[in-house]
C-alpha cells in the first residue's frame, strides 16, 4: 500500500484534539462575554441593596447635610430618587410621544417605497442619526428648545433630544417588520375596496404590531439611561417637578449628582441598580412581546 496517501494515526489524533480545543475555546469565550452583566449586577446589589426600601421610591434625593450625619452614624441615608423617577417617566414619556408616531410613519414609508430614491436618502439619514453622539443631541436640544422655546433648562428640551435618539430604532424595526408581511394581505384589503391609508393603518400595521412594539421598547430602554443629553437640557431638579417647561431631574442625572457629592456616594449604587433593573425589565418585556404578540399569517 502506498504510505504517502495514508494519514497517520498520530495526525488524526492531533486533529481531533485541535477540534476539541477549538470547541472549548468558543464555549469559554461565549461564557466570558456574559460575565460582565452578572458582575455588574452583583456589585450593584452588594453595595446598593441597603438603600433600597419604600422611602427610596417616594422621597426625593437627600440633602447633603442629612446624608453626612447619617453616614457618620453608620445609618442608611434618608432619602430616595422620587424626583428622578418622576422626571424620567415624564421625559421618556414625552420623547416617546414625539418619536413613536414619527418613527412608525417613517418606517412605513420606507417599507412601502423600499426602492425609491428619496426612501434611500431617508434610510441613510436615519442610519447616520443612530451614530450621532448623544452629547451632540444634548447641544441640539439646548439650541432648539432651551434657548428659544422654554427660555431655560427644561424637561421638554430633554424629551426632544431623547426623541431624536430613539427614532432610528423605531424606524428600522417598523420597516423591517412591515417588509416581512406578505403582500397578499395588502391585496386582500385593497380587493375589498378598502382605501390605501386604511389598509395600511388597520390591516398592515396591526399585523406587524409585535415587531414594532419591540422596536419601541428597545428604543425606550436605550434612552432611559441616557445622561449626557439631559445634562445640557433637563439639567436636574432637587424637587419633584411635573412642569415640562421647568428643569427636571432624571435617574441617570441623579447618579451623576450623587457622584459629585462625597456625602451621597452611597446612593450611586442603589440608583444605578434601580436604573439597570428598569432597563433589563424593558428589554425582557420586549422579548416577551415579540414572542407572545407575534401574528401568524
Amino acid at each position: 500500500m502506498n504510505t504517502s496517501t495514508q494519514i497517520s494515526k498520530a495526525k488524526i489524533n492531533r486533529r481531533l484534539l485541535k477540534d476539541k480545543l477549538f470547541t472549548y475555546a468558543i464555549i469559554f469565550l461565549a461564557f466570558l462575554s456574559s460575565v460582565p452583566l452578572f458582575l455588574i449586577l452583583f456589585e450593584l446589589i452588594k453595595k446598593g441593596y441597603r438603600q433600597i426600601n419604600i422611602s427610596f421610591f417616594y422621597k426625593v434625593a437627600p440633602d447633603t447635610m442629612e446624608a453626612m450625619v447619617a453616614v457618620k452614624n453608620n445609618e442608611i441615608i434618608p432619602g430616595g430618587i422620587a424626583n428622578g423617577i418622576v422626571g424620567t417617566l415624564i421625559i421618556v414619556g414625552m420623547a416617546s410621544l414625539i418619536a413613536i408616531p414619527l418613527g412608525i410613519i417613517c418606517g412605513m414609508y420606507l417599507a412601502e417605497n423600499s426602492k425609491g430614491k428619496f426612501a434611500g436618502v431617508v434610510r441613510f439619514i436615519v442610519d447616520m442619526l443612530q451614530g450621532v453622539p448623544s452629547i451632540v443631541l444634548g447641544v441640539i436640544g439646548y439650541i432648539w428648545v432651551v434657548k428659544p422655546i422654554t427660555g431655560g433648562f427644561s424637561g421638554l428640551a430633554g424629551s426632544v433630544a431623547l426623541s431624536i435618539m430613539m427614532l432610528p430604532s423605531i424606524v428600522r424595526s417598523t420597516e423591517e417588520t412591515l417588509k416581512m408581511i406578505p403582500d397578499t394581505l395588502k391585496e386582500a384589503a385593497l380587493s375589498l375596496g378598502v382605501p390605501y391609508h386604511k389598509t395600511m393603518l388597520r390591516v398592515i400595521l396591526p399585523s406587524g404590531i409585535s415587531g414594532i412594539l419591540t422596536g419601541v421598547i428597545l428604543g425606550i430602554s436605550r434612552i432611559a439611561g441616557e445622561t449626557a443629553p439631559l445634562m445640557l437640557t433637563a439639567l436636574g431638579s432637587a424637587a419633584i417637578s411635573t412642569d415640562i417647561t421647568k428643569p427636571s431631574s432624571a435617574i441617570p442625572l441623579l447618579v451623576w449628582e450623587f457622584y459629585n457629592d462625597p456625602n451621597l456616594v452611597n446612593m450611586i449604587w442603589s440608583a444605578s441598580l434601580f436604573l439597570l433593573i428598569l432597563i433589563l425589565i424593558l428589554n425582557l418585556s420586549a422579548k416577551a412581546i415579540a414572542k407572545k404578540w407575534k401574528v401568524q399569517y
Binding site: 394581505l185 386582500a188 380587493s191 375596496g193 378598502v194 386604511k198 399585523s207 404590531i209 401568524q296
Partner: protein, 282 residues
C-alpha cells in the same frame, strides 16, 4: 443558392399558425354580457404588453375559466378587471373594460372593487381578526356601520354559502388563521361574498390546496353561480373542464380562443388550443 436543412426548418417554424378561413371565429360573442372587455392591452411598464388587444364578453351567472401556460397573461387579465394590477407602479393600458355601461377605468377603483370581489391564490385571511370579523371585514374596514343583528345575519349567511358555518359556528371569535388551508380559502370566499359583489374573480384559488379541499371549493363555485358571476384563472385544465361554462385560452398575451367549455374541449377551433389541451405544450 440552396438553403440548408436547418434554414428550411426555421422557415417552417417561423410561419404563423394558419387559421383555417373556413373555421368560425375562435372568439365567441356573448349575448348581453355583464362585463365587456374591449380591446384591452396591459403593460407593466415600457412598450411590452403582457396582454394584447383582448376583447371578450363575460356571461352573467356563469363560470368563465381563463386557461393558458404560465406567463400567458391570464392573471394580468383577471387583475385588470378590478384594477388590482395598478398596485404595481408604471402600469398602463389601452382599451377598456365595461361593467354594464360604465367604463371601469373611469370609475373610482375603491367603488369598483366593491362590485367586483377577488379571491387569491394563497388563502389570506386577516391575521389580526377573528373569523367573524374576517367575514364582515369589507364593512368593518370601510367604516360601514351595521347593527349587531345585521352583522350576525351576514356572517351566518356568508359562512353557510361557503359551507363553513357548521365547521366554525362555535369558534367564530377565534382567529381565522387557525383554520386549515381549505377552510381559510373558503373563509376568504365568504369574505368576498359578504360584500355582495356582482362578480367574483378567483386567481388560481385551489392551487395551494389538497384535492379534498379543492373538490369542496369547486362544488361551492358551481353552487354560487346562481347568485354571482364567476371568473376563474386556473392552469388546471381538468378543473376548467369540470366546473366552467365558458373557457378562454390565452397564449403569449393573446386571447386565442374563447367559447363554451364543452365546445372548446371537444372541438377546439385554433390549433394552439388543441395543442395545449392535448398536452403538447404548457
Amino acid at each position: 443558392m440552396e438553403s440548408t436543412v436547418l434554414e428550411k426548418e426555421l422557415e417552417v417554424k417561423a410561419q404563423p399558425y394558419k387559421v383555417n378561413k373556413m373555421m368560425q371565429n375562435p372568439i365567441e360573442k356573448i349575448e348581453s354580457p355583464i362585463l365587456n372587455i374591449d380591446k384591452l392591452s396591459v403593460s407593466y411598464g415600457g412598450d411590452k404588453y403582457s396582454i394584447n388587444d383582448v376583447s371578450a364578453g363575460i356571461a352573467k351567472n356563469k363560470i368563465t375559466a381563463i386557461m393558458g401556460p404560465s406567463g400567458c397573461g391570464k392573471s394580468t387579465l383577471l387583475r385588470a378587471i378590478n384594477r388590482m394590477h395598478e398596485l404595481y407602479p408604471d402600469t398602463h393600458n389601452k382599451g377598456s373594460v365595461y361593467l354594464g355601461e360604465e367604463d371601469i377605468y373611469k370609475m373610482n377603483p375603491i367603488l369598483l372593487r366593491r362590485k367586483i370581489g377577488m379571491v387569491f391564490q394563497r388563502p389570506n385571511p386577516f391575521p389580526t381578526m377573528s373569523i367573524y370579523d374576517n367575514v364582515i371585514a369589507g364593512y368593518l374596514l370601510n367604516g360601514i356601520k351595521l347593527k349587531r343583528k345585521e352583522k350576525d345575519a351576514i356572517v351566518e349567511k356568508s359562512l353557510r354559502e361557503v359551507g363553513l358555518w357548521s365547521e366554525v359556528k362555535d369558534a367564530l371569535h377565534n382567529k381565522g388563521t387557525f383554520l386549515s388551508g381549505g377552510q381559510q380559502q373558503r373563509l376568504c370566499i365568504a369574505r368576498a361574498l359578504a360584500y355582495t359583489p356582482e362578480i367574483i374573480l378567483l386567481d388560481e384559488p385551489t392551487s395551494a390546496l389538497d384535492p379534498i379541499a379543492t373538490a369542496k371549493i369547486e362544488d361551492l363555485l358551481v353552487k354560487l353561480k346562481k347568485d354571482f358571476t364567476i371568473v376563474l384563472v386556473t392552469h388546471n385544465m381538468s378543473q376548467a373542464a369540470r366546473i366552467s361554462d365558458y373557457s378562454m385560452f390565452m397564449y403569449l398575451g393573446e386571447l386565442v380562443e374563447y367559447g363554451k367549455t364543452k365546445q372548446m374541449f371537444t372541438m377546439p377551433k385554433d390549433k394552439r388550443t388543441e395543442e395545449y389541451l392535448t398536452g403538447k405544450f404548457g
